[in-house]
Subunit: 731 residues, 2 copies
């Protein structure tokens, strides 16, 4: 039965070229069947490569492109509000060295915008703001002196700092030990002069790049939030791909004030040092800020893209680094007019994010490892001790699951090509990977994979704004992210819903199952939204009428009304946090095997970071799995609907299977399990009805065999799939 | 070296007698060396026993003594505010059957006191009170109908219910299957008529008990909070030995209003169904209520005790059951004039509680198992399958640790003596136990055990009000209780401090180490008190000047000011709860062995219910033990002082040793470890300087050997101590 599609043997592949390695570049382009060659930060393409007949992507980052201009215009640099590290008073005066603890090569205190107008000083112990009359800034040494302090209280200053080293080139510089190479500085397009300069630069750049077919914006203007520290053992102070904190400046706030009618305070962004990160439930101010930045970025990005188009070139955007304000799920995204989107990814959910981008004709994945000596976590990739093939295989298993459900157009790599030269095993592996990608891509042509008629909505405080995204790459241990990764390859339609959506529009009529997965107070579970009775009311009524609800970790959690899980009446369980210890707990029946959810669960299943202290409400809750008298899997009927509680979720074959079963059970769609279904949970299959092809993919490193139940309920003979591999069957 | 003291071979022992088993009673009295015979609930002493020459304790519980009067005065029964179980609306009207879910044999809805004056109805989903105009009570069927409800919101009613079955006799009745024996009802001395009746009954009773030497009040008036449910799999709705909820009634509230100038609302006590339990940080209202009840109980108890004294008898009180309002640490306790106190206990901390009672001449422990077929947890004691000897040995190890530090005067048992008859092994064991008790008691005569000159204060929201107490018997897994149990046998002076004490008086000058052990928001850690800057300020300054601080679990925890542990600057660690996930964590150095704290720690130590997600703040924190990159033991210097963090504590030999070392290190008193100290942590020793005797006690079931470092630093040869046993050495 194993078969091949009629997929092309070349194309859909982007190779990072490198000047000085022209032979290698062209040789690997042929070996891997590349149709496109790109440059990377730190590499150039020589004329020989540029004129070699391949499509050429050229990276361009306008905010750091002209460092001379940046040097000449130090007040036009990008900035950020920072909170100084807390300083404890031992008397009635405290002197705060604002940048102490921060990486001083990244920041310079902004002494230009009046501190007393923009900054705020707090007694964090008391939780009170210090009146401006009690503090003053010394611009000579970058300190703030606070008078009238209370001994043993901690004080912090929210201040504006210019960013004097653009973060991505800083990271590349430091990672590759670029020594005294000039530090590039990010300029801020909020200033008309900066926009003029950037457009003029773009025009010059276009004129200088006749071979370039695709301008690969890497990326637009504002980087995700990434302040560094001066402590080698804590290199980053904060690292949040989803946070807009690096888009704030006095000029932007004044423009915001004009647009929205009010001016946020520094504390709206600093939030006692927690900042507005992906994990915090977004405030109204912060949601307004995101809206404002999206509009600004959309408008100026469109102008840039129009210039590219006018020159007969295409504009792709790298959906990372300076991506802030580019939200593919926001209606304004398509107004920019990008032709393509590229993202550097590791996981299935990220592949789904790229695949779901509207309005572009090319969706491309930059795979990992990046051709750097070390990876983003500092571990060796192409250095001795690294195993780039194993890295690539490991990521590909997860990415492939997602691509079987939702295709992208291209794959590629980035970085320094010469690092690959001495890794023949890796070179061979990528030959096969590229061929497999082309095969699988072909299956989506004029076809869509068979999908169970079950529609799932993942409910969080972010909704579609973080569809197939969390806070960057895989945030292991985060229940929302773990569930999203598992569902990225499941045969169910998945959408994202925010509490604001729910309050405004209710639950869409076509949703079968809602999933809420998160921890107490975080944006993923929803935090304070669960104290809004309208939320509880809508979901409860919807379940009563037949909806399905799945809660993972601390779903619907808030200390409110004497309960913790605000939907405990649906879930049938709640969590004991120590305050209701005196309440006796219901002695639920011992977990019985054989329920639909747990039918093929292994004897021990690892839920990863799991919630304990769970208790069943009463006999209407059926506990399917428990540990130390704490339910791990529980189900309950409510009215016409059903709910499932999972105390944790960890992306793994067994957990994927359990989640799949939970979704079908909650949707009262159990009958769909046994269609196009692998018996062995370490494998998954996807059926393409028009091609009449069935892909059986191995989710693990080890060889697996499985029988597959086909659409008519008949079973195949055992199918063997090699470790990391997949098989395409005619059926 | 093993030796004996000159302890008497009889006495200090109370035997429960039983009519119908006169021979057994007198035989066991001789076997165990009893000097006193008592009755129990459900047993009588025959004239033969009463006249046998032994001291006679007679139990008396005035609130349930005259059931005819209770029946004739149904409005004078004790009552309680209860919250009805939540009822979810599916339309605009909700009918709440008030007692649904409660044990209807325990409660009767109080229809006498105007519901609209006293009760409150809540929409718990919205967190709002329903105006009285929207609900009415139907006394015929005990329901409340609420109009204008919102579908899918949950509603509850706070209502007054009479208690129609006195809880302790109810428990005894149910546990021993007393069938149709009359249900005793508790009358409320808040009513003058009830007080008159109780005193008249007391007078009659005294007259009828000429042989009684000691009136054993079992106990005074108000039981701890113990509403039962009607669901066999959740027999108790709440069970909290420390809660005053059963002392509330309209009459008491009116008296309170007169005394305190305001009238609490039902919700002040019901607290959305969480009630005012031991685990909740007490509100001002609740603290006022406790104060009010203490005064009331003191005043009327004194009257009762005076009558007993006038009759030439002594008055002992059983510090349990109806103990509410008797707080030995409150100055009013001694005004009552009790001659003795008795408590039924299992653990060391409970023994310390009895030992610390001021103003009485006799302190007595009633040991376990109680001579009942089953124990308080429902497991068999004297029924087949039970092992009363093992139970008794297990408790005795823990109790003995405490008694070596702080003596009591007597021990005894309670229950049905005839159950013991066929347990010769148990009878033999108690012979030895009684002898051992008398030996150890003798060591305290004109002597005090050697104690390290280190004074520890345990800081909680309760302070001395719950000195050597938590929420009843050992609340396993509660860090406060676990620490208290461990410290109950350590050679350090221990006091208890509340946040109110600290705010009022500061930290007493003689305190060396403060321990805060608890979980987020609970009364043991302190909850909202940690958002009070004065608390942080006082402790921080005190540590800076040389104090020692030990935090266990979630010490000083509150979501406030961007941190979670409000004393993280002292502890050097904080806990990640998911909101600061984007913050990079300091990569602390690998835990190194050999620190004073961990010097004799076993390779694996079980902290019980442990807190994870801990991170070190910076390089000033030394992590001594960790798991999964989460510190378990960390130390830090701050100014002249020192702090220790323990992620959990579980009463066990290794944990006791670690806590002991932590206390000495925090107090900068390491040098005291090696004085009168057992090398083997499964043993402990206590030295009595005037007797020049050293007790080496085995903390385990297995035989142990140890060397002991004496006061001069010299070491003994190996001392062997049998399992459960102890040895007394002349030194």
């Amino acid at each position: 039965m194993p078969t091949k599609t009629l997929a092309p043997t070349t194309g859909s592949f982007t190779l990072p070229g490198e000047a000085g390695y022209e032979d290698l570049t062209l040789r690997l382009a042929r070996t891997w069947g590349a149709d496109t060659i790109r440059d990377s930060d730190g590499t150039q393409l020589s004329d020989e490569i540029a004129a070699s007949g391949y499509n050429i992507y050229s990276t361009l980052c306008l905010v750091r492109a002209d460092n001379a201009w940046a040097r000449a215009n130090p007040t036009k640099l990008q900035q950020s509000w920072l909170m100084s590290f807390p300083v404890m008073a031992d008397g009635d005066t405290v002197r705060v060295d604002l940048l102490k603890g921060y990486f001083r090569e990244q920041f310079r205190v902004n002494a230009d915008a009046g501190p007393h107008e923009w900054w705020q000083v707090f007694d964090r112990t008391a939780g009170t703001e210090i009146p401006t009359a009690q503090w003053n800034f010394n611009s000579a040494d970058g300190t703030v002196t606070i008078r009238g302090t209370t001994a043993w209280h901690s004080y912090t200053v929210n201040f504006f700092a210019y960013r004097i080293w653009e973060e991505i080139s800083m990271y590349n510089h430091v990672t590759n030990s670029w020594g005294d190479r000039e530090h590039l500085m990010p300029i801020d397009p909020i200033h008309p002069e900066a926009r003029e300069q950037m457009l003029a630069y773009l025009d010059r750049w276009i004129a200088a790049h006749p071979h370039t077919k695709v301008v690969r914006f890497t990326s637009m203007f504002y980087n995700f939030f990434w302040p560094w520290g001066d402590e080698p053992k804590r290199r980053f102070v904060i690292n949040d791909w989803g946070s807009y904190e690096f888009s704030v400046s006095p000029a932007a706030l004044l423009a915001f004030e004009k647009a929205k009618g009010y001016r946020p305070k520094s504390e709206d962004f600093v939030n006692a040092g927690l900042y507005c990160t992906s994990h915090a439930v977004p405030s109204k101010v912060y949601r307004d800020w995101i809206d404002f930045v999206i509009s600004f970025v959309t408008d100026f990005s469109r102008v840039c893209v129009e210039r590219v188009h006018a020159a007969g070139k295409q504009a792709y955007v790298f959906y990372n680094d300076h991506w802030i304000g580019l939200e593919p799920t926001d209606a304004r995204f398509v107004q920019i007019g990008f032709d393509g989107i590229i993202d550097g990814i590791f996981s299935g959910f990220e592949a789904r994010k790229v695949a779901a981008t509207p309005g572009v004709t090319v969706r491309e994945l930059r795979l990992h490892p990046y051709f750097f000596p070390t990876g983003v976590n500092g571990a060796p990739s192409f250095l001795p001790g690294g195993n780039p093939t194993l890295e690539c295989q490991t990521y590909w298993i997860d990415i492939r699951r997602a691509l079987l459900r939702a295709p992208v157009d291209r794959i590629g790599f980035g970085g320094y090509l010469h690092l690959v030269e001495n890794h023949p095993k890796f070179i061979r592996y990528v030959v096969g990977l590229a061929a497999e990608f082309r095969e699988l891509k072909e299956l989506h042509v004029k076809d869509r994979p068979y999908t169970t008629p079950v529609k799932v909505a993942i409910l969080s405080a972010w909704g579609t704004l973080r569809a197939w995204a969390c806070c960057g790459h895989f945030n292991h241990g985060n229940p929302y992210n773990e569930v999203m990764e598992s569902i990225s390859g499941l045969p169910v339609e998945t959408v994202f819903l925010s509490f604001e959506d729910l309050l405004r529009d209710g639950i869409p009529a076509d949703i079968d199952v809602i999933i809420n997965a998160g921890r107490r107070d975080d944006s993923w579970s929803g935090g304070r939204y669960w104290t809004d009775p309208r939320i509880v009311e809508k979901i409860t009524g919807w379940v009563a009428r037949g909806g399905g609800f799945i809660g993972v970790g601390e779903p619907s959690s808030a200390a409110h009304g004497g309960k913790f899980f605000q939907l405990s009446h649906l879930l049938g369980v709640d969590r004991e946090l120590g305050l209701s210890t005196a309440r006796a707990k219901y002695a639920y029946d011992a977990a019985k095997p054989g329920h639909f959810l747990t039918a093929d669960l292994p004897p021990a299943i690892d839920f990863g970071k799991e919630v304990e202290g769970i208790h069943a409400l009463d006999g209407d809750t059926t506990v399917l799995l428990d540990a130390n008298k704490s339910p791990r899997v529980a189900v309950r009927a409510f009215g016409e609907g059903r709910s499932v509680y999972l105390s944790g979720h960890h992306y793994s074959p067994s957990n994927i299977r359990l989640l799949h079963r939970a979704i079908l059970w909650a949707a009262r769609a159990e009958k769909y399990l046994d269609r196009w279904h692998c018996r062995n949970a370490s494998t998954e299959c996807v059926y393409y009805p028009r091609h009449q092809k069935l892909v059986v993919a191995n989710l693990t490193a080890k060889p697996q065999t499985t029988t597959v139940t086909l659409g008519d309920g008949k079973k195949t003979k055992r199918v063997a799939v090699p470790g990391y591999g997949c098989k395409i069957l005619d059926v």
